[in-house]
Symmetry: C2
Subunit: 351 residues, 2 copies
């Protein structure tokens, strides 16, 4: 049985919604054990009032926690018993198979980096965001694509981009049941020579040295279309793109307000759609699909959105369970080994 | 009187719509002279059938032209008498004050770079896109912001970003009548230390060495909001962002299709809005605001959208006239001089 460590104290609605989410998961995901890590005196009263499966849910006390406003490095030094670090240590020592946190992203990333080992060949980790697209993906017809990195590695070089591509493909193939996910590089044009040097070089490496289903470069407009299953970019570009995507409903409402003030039929249409726009906002807020995987280490960390409520937390726990069960880390390690072997072998395509 | 050179052969609808646009401008902008540069045998028959002011409109023959699919460098070498190069030369020699083209962007940029001089202090040029926002800007309450660079300089260093900020501010203050435009750097967080090294360093330089109304870093979500009047980034990031903006209506329709298939009220709302979405698409297609200024040279080039029809061309001609009349180039040169002086003077804020 797999065990998921949940940072009970992380997130805007913690510990109430994290505990409720874990309780929900204990009832719905009967193949998982869940450990709530955090302040026992605050967690237990919530658990007492929430339906859960006590056989599958336990509490590990942690004396402090990192707030959303804390500076990650300082916080981890000053609070060595904070919940996210205690949870990451539990995972490192084999007491749990994956970590879920809706708390301070930087603190989660740092806690993982300090307690876990990097997958051989991966020099820098990536945070991968799942976002909704028009086109469906994989056997399960998921309406989601994966974008990475979205902020862990701001300046990614060509080797980093290749590692991100391999990691994203491993995640998509194992979690979305997409045997040969379409992988693309984000650039300013679809031709092979387009983009900064790192992207041009990564394009060559991905074409010659990986067995990936690499479809080449895609442009900004392809992101919402869902042309690729996995889109790869530096953390700086990915972060800007992700924040634009999260604001897409707001964007359209704003443009609409500006452009159509006078037309009654458009006003009416907008009013009818306002619930719909709210729903888009929720979808782009990761509510449905649990969280963003942090990839590159020998353990998995699923970052749930800061605003997560119980349903999002429960989904993040399930995703963490699925990723651990289906060997995402092993698949990444295999991809990196094959890439290194192909590159040293001098160019033969591995796949 | 100012003279605007128009590349009659550039754009998806050239020469029909470019000639019609120039004809329209000759009637509406009576302070401008317009020179249509291109194939006389194709331009004149269109002019004969189009109302125009013959006093303000003339034709300069060019024997060839660059197509949208041509490779810019090759095309300019193989076609030394192509319309965009003939027009750029006319501007360089003082026969016209600015260039308007809806043709191949790379060819326009290269034609300018080969025939014009760079503003002292500016090492790399920038293409600035105008895009619609919710917030209004400047004395004229323009619902537009400026984003630069969007593709001329893919890897911009800190000095380039500072030059882009000064150029964008000069353009906004002179063309949008916005005396102290709010200038921001695009980053992955609003704090001064956020972003890659080039952005962090540019933040310092903009704070200490320019008289700009620098409001610090903004994030992806601030782009459609219109938090800043001028947003500065490298050409790679700007190009990805611009292409996402252009696809924003498509994005929302796609998300809507995915999320609300079942709800009748939403379907109806979407149907009522479909004309509205088309209109957003047009707005984001630069129809209203004429074109994207190419900044950094001693002359101005306004790049109209490739799909421009007569109204967009006429607007681009007017914008080119306004930019030339209000001394955008002189304002850029002044900003660069003040920046260099402040930096050599050791940090005193110039403004």
């Amino acid at each position: 049985m797999l065990t998921i460590a949940v940072d009970a104290m992380g997130g805007d609605n913690a510990p109430l919604e994290t505990v409720r989410g874990a309780a929900l998961a204990s009832l719905e995901a009967r193949h998982l054990q869940i450990v709530l890590v955090g302040d026992q005196r605050r967690i237990e009263p919530i658990l007492e009032e929430t339906r859960h499966d006590a056989e599958r849910l336990s509490v590990l006390h942690a004396g402090s926690f990192v707030t959303m406003d804390d500076k990650p490095a300082e916080a981890l030094t000053q609070k060595p018993d904070c919940s996210v670090l205690v949870a990451a240590r539990l995972v490192a020592e084999g007491g749990a198979d994956a970590l879920v946190s809706a708390g301070n992203t930087g603190a989660g990333v740092l806690a993982a980096a300090r307690t876990w080992k990097r997958v051989p060949g991966v020099r820098r980790a990536a945070l991968a965001a799942v976002y909704p697209t028009e086109q469906r993906h994989g056997d399960k017809q998921d309406p989601f694509s994966l974008l990475l990195d979205v902020g862990a590695t701001l300046d990614a070089d060509a080797d980093d981009l290749v590692a991100f591509a391999l990691m994203g493909a491993a995640y998509a193939s194992r979690v979305s049941k997409n045997a040969r996910p379409k992988v693309a590089l984000l650039s300013n044009g679809s031709e092979a020579g387009k983009g900064p040097a790192s992207v041009v070089e990564a394009h060559k490496l991905l074409t010659s040295h990986t067995g990936l289903n690499f479809i080449g470069n895609v442009e900004g407009i392809d992101i919402p279309r869902g042309t690729a299953d996995v889109i790869v970019c530096s953390g700086f570009v990915g972060n800007v793109v992700l924040k634009m995507l999260e604001g897409v409903s707001e964007t359209v409402m704003s443009l609409a307000r500006y452009a159509y003030k006078e037309k009654m039929v458009w006003r009416l249409g907008l009013m009818m759609l306002s619930g719909g726009f709210q729903r888009i906002k929720e979808v782009t807020d990761w509510e449905q699909y649990g969280g963003a995987p942090f990839l590159g280490f020998d353990r998995l960390y699923i970052k749930a959105h800061g605003r997560s409520k119980q349903r999002a937390i429960a989904n993040a726990i399930k995703v963490a369970g699925k990723a651990a069960a289906h060997g995402v880390v092993e698949e990444i390690a295999k991809g990196m080994r094959e890439f290194e072997a192909s590159r040293q072998g001098g160019g033969a395509k591995a796949g």
